[in-house]
């Protein structure tokens, strides 16, 4: 891209973002909005600039750490430690993605550099928070120092008395841990293993450590992380239907609802049935899978748009059904007429109607006892186990005969039939497998929240899940997980926390200048614009990178036919040099 064009584009993006914030938060002042716009433009420029991959990877991954640190930092500066680790891990993976290495040693060095940049970038955001943002948001130095010593882990143990020392320690810790994780991730990725156990271990390490750091620093991140993970689990299930089998499902939240309601009805005082969670989660998955068959069977001949419309209807009907299956007057009688004869049916309040079902019994384990709502750590690890199993199972499924049948069916149904693939079974299995995982998700969700309401399963849930799948890359599990982390992270962490921060800053400025804060902008709450933001992201993605962030190779080929010659040549060359492929 010629330079002028690049400047115009990035400047435009920066200006748009600045204008957006100015519109929302007039109290921030033009200066702040311009500054924000300039920062965004600078980042875009950096992204497209001819810089070494490791710097770019470090900056991109570090940006997420930095944003996380800034939005949480005024209250919980210790978040920088987790943000640094995660961005280091991300940088290590990203730099390998951009410039693959065969030599683990070289990869480790590259990953360490990228990770250190990401970690330092995150830590810089902490300094920025300490000296600029926290004061602007009305947190005075003493208050901030208190937050600092409370939330930065090891600060007490190391006897770091002064705030500057704690800040420096956090800076060093974030940079160092990011560099180590980046190096480990990049090196592990360069190993020619399948499955790549070291890589899984490197990724698992921060994921498993988060609750402990969270507890030590009292960061309360798990409240947001657990719902994020649940949605990723759902997106993985949806990816089977949409990504692998190519069946566009716009009503996937229905299966989530079915899983959650099954759990609620079978393990709560509501109906007087109180089965163990460990049994109910399987029942919920089975019921959801059967519901998947129920949706799949009548839609067998449908494709594309038609299927999308039917699934959309299904997604609308199911929550309405749950809403209307209960909540009436207790033990009333419903009179139906059957050939003119009145039949009285005792009306049972199955689902609690609009009020939903509350409470739902938590899981129980020996030694741990009932999972407490106040202690999120057992929940977190339980969910990690469920997700780990789901990822393992879906991976196996994709590489199995069944996975190949899905692939063939997605490409050409008739040809698949001619290959001896039972298309009916293949389709039904995609629907029921996809539904099954949302059944697990729904069961966990019900037990975790402890109550369910029909409004938690409306259309926007299906759409957000679809966004996650599309943003990450249809048909690619890693892509879906990343897409899910980004969208859900934005939805449940960055946007609400960022909105809070902006509000604080705006209020602080307003009170400093003595102007009123009431009624400055009806749109002041960013959280109310989240759907708009997702819409914009989707449109931009479709224009710029329709195959998603981390595309499945095949999808990419479908959407960019021009690149084919280059691609296929390099693949062919690879196959020649790699005897295992050619054998």
């Amino acid at each position: 891209m010629p330079n002028t064009q690049r400047y115009v584009k990035t400047g435009g993006i920066g200006f748009a973002v600045g204008a957006f914030f100015l519109w929302n938060y007039p109290n921030l002042g033009i200066g702040a909005a311009l500054l924000g716009g300039l920062v965004i433009a600078a980042l875009c420029l950096l992204y497209s600039a001819p810089l070494p991959d490791m710097i770019k990877a470090g900056l991109i991954a570090g940006m997420f750490g930095a944003v996380m640190t800034i939005v949480y930092g005024t209250d919980k500066p210790g978040v920088a430690i987790i943000a640094g680790m995660l961005s280091g891990l991300g940088a290590g993976l990203l730099v390998f993605q951009r410039s693959p290495q065969a030599n683990p040693k070289k990869a480790a060095i590259l990953g360490a550099e990228a990770g250190a940049i990401a970690g330092a970038w995150t830590a810089l955001a902490l300094l920025l928070t300490a000296f600029v943002i926290a004061p602007a948001a009305g947190v005075d130095a003493g208050e901030f120092a208190e937050h600092l010593s409370e939330t930065v882990i090891f600060a007490d143990a190391l006897g770091l008395g002064s705030d500057i020392l704690i800040l420096l320690f956090a800076f060093a810790f974030s940079t160092l841990s990011a560099a180590i994780l980046g190096a480990a991730a990049c090196a592990a990725r360069s190993l020619p293993l399948r499955p790549n156990i070291p890589l899984l271990a490197v990724i698992a390490l921060p994921v498993l450590l988060i609750p402990l750091i969270d507890r030590a620093g009292n960061l309360l991140l798990l409240d947001a992380l657990i719902p994020i993970y649940i949605f990723i689990l759902l997106a993985l299930g949806l990816n089977i239907v949409v990504g692998y089998a190519g069946l566009l499902d716009l009503g996937y939240a229905a299966f989530f609802a079915i899983g959650a309601y099954t759990t609620a009805m079978l393990s709560s005082p509501h109906l007087g049935i109180n089965l163990s969670f460990w049994l109910v989660i399987w029942v919920a998955a089975a019921v959801a899978a059967i519901a998947g068959l129920t949706l799949g069977a009548p839609t067998l001949p449908l494709r594309g748009d038609y299927l999308a419309i039917v699934t959309l209807g299904f997604g609308e009907i199911v929550p309405i059904l749950f809403r209307s299956l209960g909540g009436g007057p207790p033990s009333g009688t419903l009179t139906l007429r059957f050939f003119g004869m009145p039949i009285g049916i005792e009306q049972v309040d199955l689902t609690g109607g609009n009020k939903g079902i509350n409470p739902i019994s938590p899981p129980h384990l020996p030694f741990i006892g009932d999972f407490e709502p106040s202690n999120k750590i057992p929940w977190y690890y339980l969910l990690i186990v469920i997700m780990g199993l789901a990822i393992f199972f879906i991976n196996r499924l994709r590489d199995s005969r069944q996975g190949r049948a899905w692939m063939a069916m997605r490409e050409d149904e008739l040809a698949a039939d001619a290959m001896g693939i039972n298309v009916v079974r293949t389709k039904l299995l995609a629907f029921s497998m996809g539904a099954m995982f949302s059944g697990f998700g729904g069961a966990f969700y019900g037990a975790f929240i402890g109550a369910i309401f029909p409004s938690s399963f409306d259309f926007s849930v299906s759409i957000i899940l679809l966004c996650m799948v599309i943003l990450g890359g249809l048909g690619n599990m890693t892509g879906v997980i990343i897409g899910g982390l980004l969208i859900q992270g934005a939805d449940k962490m960055f946007i609400p926390k960022g909105a809070e921060l902006f509000r604080d800053i705006a209020n602080e400025r307003a009170s400093a200048t003595g102007s009123s804060t009431v009624g400055v902008s009806a749109l002041q709450d960013l959280t109310q614009q989240r759907l708009l933001l997702f819409g914009i992201v989707l449109v931009v993605m479709m224009l710029v990178r329709p195959e998603g962030l981390l595309p499945n190779e095949r999808r990419k080929a479908e959407l960019h036919p021009d690149d084919d010659t280059i691609n296929s040549n390099s693949v062919a060359a690879e196959a020649e040099s790699d005897p295992s492929l050619a054998a």
Binding site: A405, D417, A418, G420, S568, V571, A572
Partner: protein, 235 residues
């Protein structure tokens, strides 16, 4: 080996096959010729279960195939290279061939059959990792035939293998068809290119608006005046 007895096939109300009877013996190459819309492809689709017959019998090695669903026909020993090739455009050559062996489990047998396909079509071997959709027309045809062979059929159905190919390639494809046949696979080939088809086939049927109007030895039909006029473009 395969018998069609008074087969009637419909597309909704359209009566496409009006009482077809034909027979294919073990080891033969039989060709079905006829003009556009005569029902050649429909006959193949009827055999492979995609458009099952409304009345009449399809017998394969003595067993009726009428109510066997399409996806089970393959494991009975019949496979088809369909009209328009219908290869999986976004799968590689290798993956396409693997799809052809979908119903089979024995990995070493599949591997050796793939080698056999590569022997028949060395061009495909050079392109194992190329996406099917980016192959040339001739290569796609080779892939479609190769993919059909991967199920180890005893009866191979080929729908217009020469369509859209340059004359040199047409010769090559027909040579390979003969080659496959000499290795023991019975073949039913549908062709527009009647001259070539009659050249390699043992026997032939002439189809006209859903009915068989002539049948016999390929060599004899080639000399037949009506056939020459209608399908060989000779006066």
């Amino acid at each position: 080996m395969l018998q069609l007895q008074n087969v009637h096939t419909y597309y909704g109300n359209i009566h496409a096959l009006k009482g077809i009877s034909l027979e294919i013996n073990q080891g033969e190459i039989v060709t079905l010729i006829g003009s556009n819309g005569a029902g050649k492809s429909t006959t193949l689709r009827t055999i492979s279960g995609i458009t099952p017959p409304r009345t009449g019998q399809v017998l394969f090695e003595g067993k009726p195939l009428n109510s066997v669903p399409a996806h089970k026909i393959v494991s009975q020993g019949i496979s088809q290279s369909p009209e328009g090739r219908r290869i999986f455009a976004n799968l590689t050559v290798r993956e396409n061939l693997e799809m052809g062996a979908f119903t089979r489990n024995n990995k070493s047998e599949i591997a050796s059959d793939m080698d056999r396909v590569f022997e028949l079509f060395p061009r495909l071997k050079e392109r194992v990792a190329q996406r099917g959709g980016t192959l040339s027309g001739g290569e796609q045809q080779m892939l479609a035939i190769g993919r059909a062979l991967m199920s180890r059929p005893r009866l191979l159905l080929l729908d217009e293998p020469s369509m859209g190919l340059a004359p040199v390639l047409v010769d090559l494809i027909f040579e390979i068809i003969q080659n496959i046949n000499s290795q023991g696979t019975t073949i039913l080939v549908v062709e527009q290119n009647a001259l070539m088809a009659l050249g390699i086939a043992h026997r032939a049927y002439v189809l006209q608006t859903g009915a068989i109007v002539k049948a016999g030895d390929a060599a004899t039909l080639r000399e037949d005046e009506d056939v020459q006029k209608a399908y060989l473009g000779m006066e």
